[in-house]
């Protein structure tokens, strides 16, 4: 009997390491990150890691909604062009040094400097003087409208009132970087031995193609509430391999689910499968420089109406995508717009499509011949085959398919060597502007169709300078209606994101931006 307490003690000691063991999270993260330097990267995989390592003036909560970050409060001038941010007094880098407004000024100037060669620098162009400095037209970095009034106060002046500006500040391009560390180590500041972070985690090791390991940053303002001690971001380029690793328990959260297995996954892992609307649209762009489509809106409309989106999403893609009759997916402060014919039933739409096709000068004796260009992927191929079949059946259009490897496809699209091209667009921030601005006549290659409409441009210019939220929304909605009537594109579906989330994870909230910072997650 005397041995019992000792046995108990021994048991406690044996189990003690488990109770204080560090909690480790393993996340599948798609492609190997190009870099962790916030000014050099633009991909989703990189942003996932950077959001854990850094925090901007504003940040997102577990639902992806905007909330104060390094700035605890801010003021906006009446003309909507001057933002004054008041930084938290206790803001620190992970080495305990103070984070000041100067770090932001330094970061934005570095992001825009031509030598930095940042491909996403244009996202900061709404700031006064930013575009000219980035293009090298203006050499003086102080011409950029970002000023540190004192260590805790940052003033940003904009070119025009930009109502999505706060939302844009959640983008990694707008994060601060540690001035001292960057000046000392230059390009190597991002190496684990040099880096300083101001987010919930900081870089501990990076083995290319194996993992990026982050550990908890004790100097983070919310450190006491952060539950997971370290997180591994594992590159999972091969989705099938990722699914196997998840099933074997080697990964807690997947980056994606292979599209041909969504059905089985949804059955086998009903409680773990997360299928959520995403801020993106999958569409076919029509080349308006092509003689068939140029000044022939009736034909463009006929092609769009001939597609049965319900069948395309339910039978072909099968990932719970939402059929799209408009361009802008569900975003904040915006009423979704649709093509007028959405309300018609299928028979009426088919009839209308056939009439429009005949009016545009084609028919059984003179059928239209088209080519669809897409980048090689099973999903794109299946969809293109189905679209071609619908066009053939409803209108009698002869369609050829052309698939190209990713970079070849990008190059063809850039040089407008296509008639119809599959594309998709994922918004940079939760606002209709990130979608509609694509069709302004002055945005260059981004406007895949080469769409030009002065009225559309006028409405967008109005929306961009309008400070009244309601009027701005109306201008953009009207612009989208014009766009849909002109039909330079055929929207097909609004994207969804798929993840498998282990049942032991707590705090995961599905959201349209698909952001899930580790600091809000926990392990049961």
């Amino acid at each position: 009997m005397r041995k019992l307490p000792r046995l108990f003690l021994a048991l406690c000691l044996t189990y003690a390491p488990f109770s204080i063991a560090e909690t480790v999270l393993k996340r599948g993260n798609g492609t190997e990150p190009e870099t962790l330097d916030i000014h050099q990267s633009s991909g989703v995989s990189e942003a996932n890691i950077q959001r854990d390592m850094f925090e901007g003036l504003v940040t997102e909560d577990a639902f992806g909604k905007l909330q104060p970050g390094v700035a605890e409060k801010w003021g906006i001038s009446d003309d909507g062009k001057r933002y004054t941010f008041h930084l938290r007094k206790d803001s620190q880098w992970s080495d305990g040094t103070a984070l000041t407004a100067e770090d932001f000024v330094y970061a934005y100037r570095r992001a825009l400097a031509p030598e930095t060669a940042s491909d996403y620098a244009f996202i900061l162009w709404p700031i006064a003087g930013a575009e000219a400095f980035n293009k090298g037209e203006q050499k003086d970095p102080s011409s950029v409208g970002v000023k540190a009034l004192d260590p805790q106060t940052l003033e940003i002046n904009l070119k025009t009132p930009t109502s999505y500006f706060l939302g844009m500040l959640m983008h990694p391009m707008a994060f601060p970087i540690p001035k001292q560390a960057v000046e000392k180590a230059s390009k190597d500041w991002i190496k684990p031995e040099n880096i300083r972070c101001n987010g919930a985690y900081c870089l501990s090791e990076w083995t290319p193609q194996a993992h990026v390991k982050l550990v908890k940053n004790p100097h983070y303002r919310r450190a006491a509430e952060v539950k997971i001690d370290s997180v591994y971001y594992i590159p999972t380029e091969d989705q099938n391999s990722e699914l196997k690793r998840y099933r074997a328990g080697e990964i807690d959260i997947t980056y994606d689910v292979p599209s041909d297995q969504i059905k089985t996954v949804a059955q086998d892992f009903a409680a773990e499968f997360r299928n959520t609307p995403y801020i993106g649209t999958y569409y076919y762009a029509l080349n308006l420089e092509n003689p068939a489509f140029k000044e022939n809106p009736k034909l463009r409309r006929a092609l769009s109406l001939a597609l049965d989106r319900d069948i395309l999403t339910e039978k072909i893609t099968q990932a719970g995508e939402i059929p799209a009759w408009g361009w802008v997916p569900p975003v904040d402060n915006y009423t979704q717009q649709n093509m007028e014919e959405k309300s018609l039933d299928k028979a009426a739409r088919t009839k209308l499509a056939q009439e429009l096709y005949a009016e545009s000068g084609y028919g059984a004796d003179k059928p239209l011949e088209l080519e669809i260009l897409y980048n090689t992927s099973d999903n794109n191929k299946k969809l293109a085959i189905a679209v071609a079949a619908m066009w053939k059946q409803v209108l009698g259009v002869k369609t050829n398919l052309r698939n190209e490897e990713w970079k070849v496809y990008l190059s063809s699209r850039k040089q407008k060597q296509f008639q119809v091209v599959r594309s998709s667009w994922i918004g940079d921030y939760n606002d209709a502007h990130t979608f509609l601005s694509l069709f302004k006549s002055d945005v260059g290659e981004m406007n895949t169709s080469g769409y030009k409409n002065p009225e559309f441009d006028r409405l967008m210019a109005e929306a961009e300078t309008q400070t009244d939220v309601k009027k701005r929304q109306e201008a953009m909605e009207q612009a989208e209606r014009i766009l849909l009537a002109d039909t330079p594109i055929i929207p097909i579906y609004y994207n969804t994101t798929q993840h498998l989330v282990s049942p032991k994870i707590t705090g995961w909230e599905d959201n349209v931006m698909d952001v899930h910072p580790t600091q809000y997650l926990g392990l049961k």
């Binding site: 190997e32 991002i190 690793r245 074997a248």
Partner: protein, 306 residues
Amino acid sequence: MLQYVFKRLLGALPTLLVIITLAFFLIRLAPGGPFDTERPIPPEIAANIERAYHLDQPLPVQYGYYLLNVLQGDFGPSFKYKDHSVSALIAEGFPVSLQLGVFAMLLALLIGLPAGILAALHQNRPMDHAVMAVAMTGITVPNFVMAPLLALVFGVFLHWLPVAGWDTGWKSAVLPVIALALPQIAYAARLMRASMLETLSSPHIRTAFAKGLPMRLILWRHVLKGALLPVLSWLGPATAAIITGSVVIEQIFGIPGIGRHFVQGALNRDYTLVMGVVVFYGALIILMNLLVDVIYGLMDPRVRYD
């Protein structure tokens, strides 16, 4: 002998130059560039990037710079993985690929050769047919089919071994090594069998039998020595096969070796990374072939180095 090695190495230089030149221009012939992304970037920003990576200069000038840098052992920065230089990526990835390759080769020899010997000694009997059937399957089933199958059975269903990754010690190496070795085991077995049979029927073996030497002695001293020579010359191409196989296997098992850099580099149009890996692989294969020739000479007195 040393003179021979020196001569061969000297001869390898023009070969490498041809490899570099071809690779340099071929990768640039492929449409699309390293900095093309889903989201087209404004031309001014594209110009900033091209300037930063010297892509704005004429091709011959870029080629000249590249040659100069390679001569100094510098493969340049990776266009895609901007935090790493190509040399650093190769230095980190090669030990992993090397382990994978060496173990796969050892496995191929340790299983393939005895299996071949066994088959030859039991020619046209059930043992022979069994070994050859398995070997034929090994050759015909490509490793991109075999690898996911192994992962599914031993990783997902049985939970004995990790499905992918390279961070659980020897355990993570088992499946990829087996998947990589299987076709080579099969080749080794078939080759060994054929060359054993040929040697067994040669006059000097008949003489040995006639002299009444014990079977063991005949096998070890006379048959194997002759029969191993063709296998030895197969080692060169086998190394190349293991390297190219490793490209596929590393991709499937998510192993951080250089094979994966090669595939991703080509898809991403990461010019410097692809070039670096090509030059490195080229040099490696040239060296391996040289090594095989030297060993061949040591084992076969008929070969002379002049």
